[in-house]
């Protein structure tokens, strides 16, 4: 190709990349919600888990502590922070212990006679009123008088305070200076975020908002604000992972560039060989932005890792150049093999697409598009740009020696048998569970964070994030009625210390039926006035003082019962809304449990309810979800493996040659699994993803080693290309294996081991050059 045409091609290519980059910058919306990387739930418990993981009241709760100042200053900071966050749309609830009568709306005040259970056991008669009025008289002569004076004419039985007590957290922390304090002298707050708990991006914003509001408070400089809770953990885990991945990525990039410079001694070739990878990445993202409304951050991170395979294509082209030969000519001879490799990798990634998980579908689409773009640009664009004069690697002295060494290696036919036996033995001998089902184990948190969380949770009496009591009924009223029937049993369990607290939805709103029953027991105006007058005899209260009370009772008799919809508009309604959810025309009540001591007793609550009441163990549900997830991926992989065998066999047109390619690859894959198991590693989904990546790389090695060109120089070039590929993969993934975060370590270790095993086995099991 002429000089001018080459320049035009290069400029055109770069322009196309710039265009893709611009399109991505316009359209790309990165999502961080981890749930799009979880499989579609199949059982009702799993569906509930998915909702609860993001939206549940427990997962959206942030626990805050402020320490390092005098109680009075800390209390002022607590009040200031609560006031600042209360009107912020990012937070749906802020609690710091300061008692707020405003929780019950003024218009709803007459509803106290329908909401409170006091009158269920106690008619509003003369004896009751007389006793209550006498107590109020005592109150008026006590220091509490100024608190109650305003309330008295409207509410002489203090029903509002009874409700407030009923709704207060079952086990609330110590109150000092009017706000919650921990035994360690920290002011405590509970903040419920509007954002989902496992959406690190949105949680980061919520946490930043809290920190900014705190920093803006006068006197906050000398105090320390600490956070805890699922949302905070998701932020910490994401930041930790990103931090380690970043520095490891930087080091390995520098090493990778140094390695390629050493191998090809040409900066031009190095820069040009980056073009197919850049095209692959940009085209992959561009297709994602068209196909999906939002691209997940994890898709991008894993996608770039998996695209590492594509770096092999230009490396193969560079290594296989002969002195004086046109780049186009050397690509043409390589192309059938490259095409086979690309097609097989794409088939393997199709398995991800079949998994049905949104995040994995994105990953599959990204990788397949990327591999195709990298492959075809390596074949049809790159050769036109490569410099004519090249340094033929085949003549390098060390390479000749290396090839001779490799050729002299013994290749006994029993190698596969020995390796297979070793794999079986190691898998049998390995101890501990085979699979790692606990997703949390993959992004572990520092133990001091977990200890702090446990301590704050205990101090605040915050509900356990693991267990939920699920009540199911055809209607919201059905759930509330079920909850009312369950309440006595729940009270009995608490008395036996099966749990510290158990909150059912009917605690906040009784069913319509119960409200109507309570309405029916309220006396009419004449009756009430009569018993009130009788009760007031001998007491010094002014004659018409309690008119507002009589009015309220009359209003309560005629009120339409309070429904969840009407209740939702009040501050307390938010609390109920989190405990009462509709799904598919069915209603679910979610009872929160704190301080579980006896799981079996709690499970027994639903024993004879025919499934209407059950204890949901979110941890067990998440593990069952992971198991289902893995089963689907394994099934998809099995199908992909079958397709792979067919593809290779068809491409090589020989079952024997296909065996030479597939046998080392399969053995190496299982060998990695076996070695990791013997080392005590529990296999997670990330190990599976990494095994597939390593398998893709191994397939290349096997394909190229199996190729019989009958040309010693070409065999040397194959060895050169493979060594460069193996070293670069070992560099990148070996670094990752040193990470302390298990997800990164899982990928790094698995791919490094895989690359090493694939390389050795494909050399040892390749048909010997001299045998042919």
């Amino acid at each position: 190709m002429r000089r001018g045409a080459r320049a035009a091609l290069l400029i055109g290519w770069l322009l196309a990349l710039a265009g893709l980059g611009w399109m991505i910058s316009q359209r790309l919306h990165v999502s961080t919600d981890l749930r799009s990387f979880m499989p579609a739930p199949t059982t009702p418990d799993q569906r509930l888990l998915m909702e609860q993981v993001g939206e549940g009241p427990g997962s959206r709760l942030l626990l805050l502590s402020i320490r390092g100042q005098s109680d009075a200053r800390l209390a002022a900071l607590s009040q200031g922070l609560a006031a600042a966050l209360k009107n912020d749309a990012r937070y749906s609830q802020v609690l710091n212990g300061s008692f707020d009568l405003g929780a019950l709306d003024e218009r709803l005040l007459p509803y106290r006679y329908l909401l409170s259970p006091t009158l269920d056991t106690q008619p509003l008669d003369q004896a009751y009123l007389a006793d209550q009025l006498q107590q109020r008289l005592d109150d008026l002569s006590s220091p509490a008088a100024s608190l109650l004076k305003g309330l008295l004419p409207r509410d002489p039985t203090l029903e509002v305070l009874q409700l407030a007590e009923r709704w207060a957290p079952a086990k609330s922390p110590q109150l000092r200076e009017g706000v919650w304090f921990s035994p360690q002298d920290e002011a405590l707050l509970l903040v419920q975020t509007a954002a989902a708990g496992f959406d690190p991006g949105a949680q980061q914003q919520a946490i930043d908002g809290i920190r900014q509001a705190f920093a803006a408070l006068p006197g906050s400089a000398g105090a320390t604000l600490e956070l805890s809770g699922p949302g905070y953990f998701s932020v910490v885990a994401a930041a930790q992972t990103r931090h380690q991945a970043d520095w490891i990525g930087r080091i390995s990039t520098v090493g990778f560039i140094a390695l390629l410079l050493l191998a090809y001694r040409s900066i031009g070739s190095l820069l040009l060989s980056a073009l197919p990878i850049a095209s692959a990445a940009l085209a992959g993202i561009a297709v994602l932005t068209v196909a999906f409304p939002a691209v997940h951050g994890i898709t991008l991170a894993f996608g770039f890792t998996l695209l590492g395979v594509a770096q092999e294509y230009p490396i193969r082209v560079l290594s296989h150049r002969r002195a004086g030969e046109d780049a186009l000519a050397s690509v043409r001879t390589l192309w059938p093999l490259l095409l086979t490799a690309i097609a097989s990798a794409c088939i393997a990634y199709l398995a991800f697409y079949a998994s049905g998980v949104n995040g994995l579908k994105q990953l599959a689409l990204f990788t397949i598009v990327g591999l195709l773009v990298a492959g075809f640009s390596t074949r049809y664009l790159l050769p036109h740009l490569l410099p004519r004069r090249v340094h033929d690697v085949a003549g390098m002295h060390w390479l000749i020696q290396a090839r001779t060494f490799v050729d002299r290696l013994p290749r006994p036919r029993w190698i596969p048998l020995v390796v297979a036996a070793a794999i079986v033995a190691m898998l049998v001998l390995a101890r501990g569970p085979f699979w790692q089902d606990n997703l949390a184990a993959l992004t572990p948190l520092p133990p001091e964070l977990l200890q702090r969380d446990a301590r704050l949770r205990e101090a605040l009496g915050a509900p356990d994030v693991r267990y939920l009591l699920v009540l199911e009924a055809p209607s919201a009223q059905g759930v509330l009625e079920l909850s009312e029937r369950l309440q006595p049993k729940a009270d009995a369990l608490l008395a036996q210390h099966a749990a510290d607290a158990l909150e059912l939805p009917s605690r906040y709103l009784p069913s319509v039926a119960v409200q109507r029953e309570r309405q029916a027991t309220l006396p009419d105006r004449a009756t009430l006035q009569h018993v009130l007058d009788q009760a007031l005899q001998g007491l010094p209260f002014r004659a018409d003082l309690f008119r507002p009370f009589v009015d309220d009772v009359q209003t309560a008799r005629r009120l339409p019962p309070l429904t969840p919809e009407r209740y939702a508009q009040t501050p307390l309604g938010q609390r109920l809304a989190a405990m009462l959810v509709e799904r598919d025309g069915h209603w679910l009540g979610l009872g929160t449990v704190s301080g579980v001591h006896d799981v079996a007793a709690l499970q027994a609550l639903g024993a004879d309810s025919h499934g209407a009441v059950r204890l949901l163990d979110l941890k067990a549900a998440s593990e069952s979800l992971v198991v289902d997830y893995r089963t689907r991926i394994l099934q998809a992989l099995a199908a992909a493996a079958l397709l792979l065998v067919l593809t290779i066999a068809l491409a090589l047109r020989s079952l024997r040659r296909a065996w030479h390619v597939l046998a080392p690859m399969t053995l190496a894959t299982f060998l990695v699994l076996a070695v990791e198991r013997v080392a005590g590693v529990e296999i997670s989904l990330f190990h599976l993803v990494a095994l597939i990546l390593a398998g893709g790389l191994g397939l290349h090695y096997a394909l190229f080693f199996e190729r019989d060109t009958g040309d010693a120089a070409e065999q040397r070039r194959t060895l050169h290309a493979t060594i460069v590929c193996v070293l670069s993969a070992l560099l990148v993934f070996g670094m990752l294996a040193w990470a302390t975060i298990p997800v990164l370590r899982a990928i790094g270790l698995t791919v490094s081991l895989g690359v090493a095993f694939h390389f050795c086995l494909s050399i040892l099991m390749a048909p010997h050059a001299r045998q042919d």
């Binding site: 005592d138 008026l140 002569s141 220091p143 100024s146 608190l147 200076e177 010094p540 209260f541």
Partner: protein
């Protein structure tokens, strides 16, 4: 004439700073070591009620910001203020707790009592504007007006009548017109069965 005036109103002509100094001297003289106990009888004149509420018992300063008010008649009841929290205990009922912040009346009571019993003029002047009047016989009156606007919304003023080194009466005037009069020490025994505002004012002004 000026001599007569100065004899009749020994402190009336004194300058503001002299008056403050005199108040400090008086307050310092009122101080007692903790724990200090004193009998009390209280009459509360409330607009809600046709007649005043009368209770009696013992007030105790336990040192620091801890105060106890024990009512013996007509019902047993103990209220304790400690660590910013009020605990109210009534016979046969579970104790009631609330924050001092929610009861400004109590905060005022605490501030004035602790400062008076501790002889801490500075603390008293920090929480209140203090006015003092007195006569040659040794009778005096301290008027305390809360400086905190939030507190002043419920408590308009406190007036303490005394003689020599002893407080005898405390009048707590609430902003809504309600009034509590506490007879302290030996005077507590002289609470009338059906007190009126006027009768109590006379009692407080009477010679010991």
């Amino acid at each position: 004439m000026s001599l007569l005036l100065s004899l009749l109103l020994p402190w009336a002509s004194a300058s503001a700073s002299e008056q403050a100094a005199a108040a400090s001297t008086l307050i310092a003289a009122l101080g007692q070591p903790a724990p200090a106990h004193t009998a009390f009888a209280e009459a509360r004149f409330l607009q809600m009620l046709d007649r005043p509420l009368v209770v009696s018992g013992e007030l105790a300063w336990l040192g620091g910001d801890r105060l106890q008010r024990r009512v013996e008649h007509p019902q047993q009841e103990t209220s304790t203020i400690a660590d910013g929290e009020v605990t109210q205990q009534r016979e046969g009922r579970s104790p009631r707790h609330f924050s001092l912040k929610r009861a400004p009346q109590l905060q005022v009571l605490l501030d004035s009592f602790v400062a008076l019993l501790g002889g801490d003029a500075a603390r008293l002047q920090q929480a209140f504007e203090v006015h003092q009047e007195g006569d040659a016989r040794g009778a005096w009156t301290l008027t305390l007006v809360p400086r905190d606007a939030r507190v002043a919304k419920t408590v308009a003023s406190i007036r303490i009548d005394g003689y020599a080194n002893a407080s005898r009466c405390m009048h707590l005037q609430e902003a809504d017109g309600d009034l509590a009069v506490d007879l302290l020490g030996p005077l507590a025994a002289r609470m009338p069965a059906e007190p009126t505002r006027e009768a109590l004012a006379a009692l407080c002004q009477s010679a010991p």
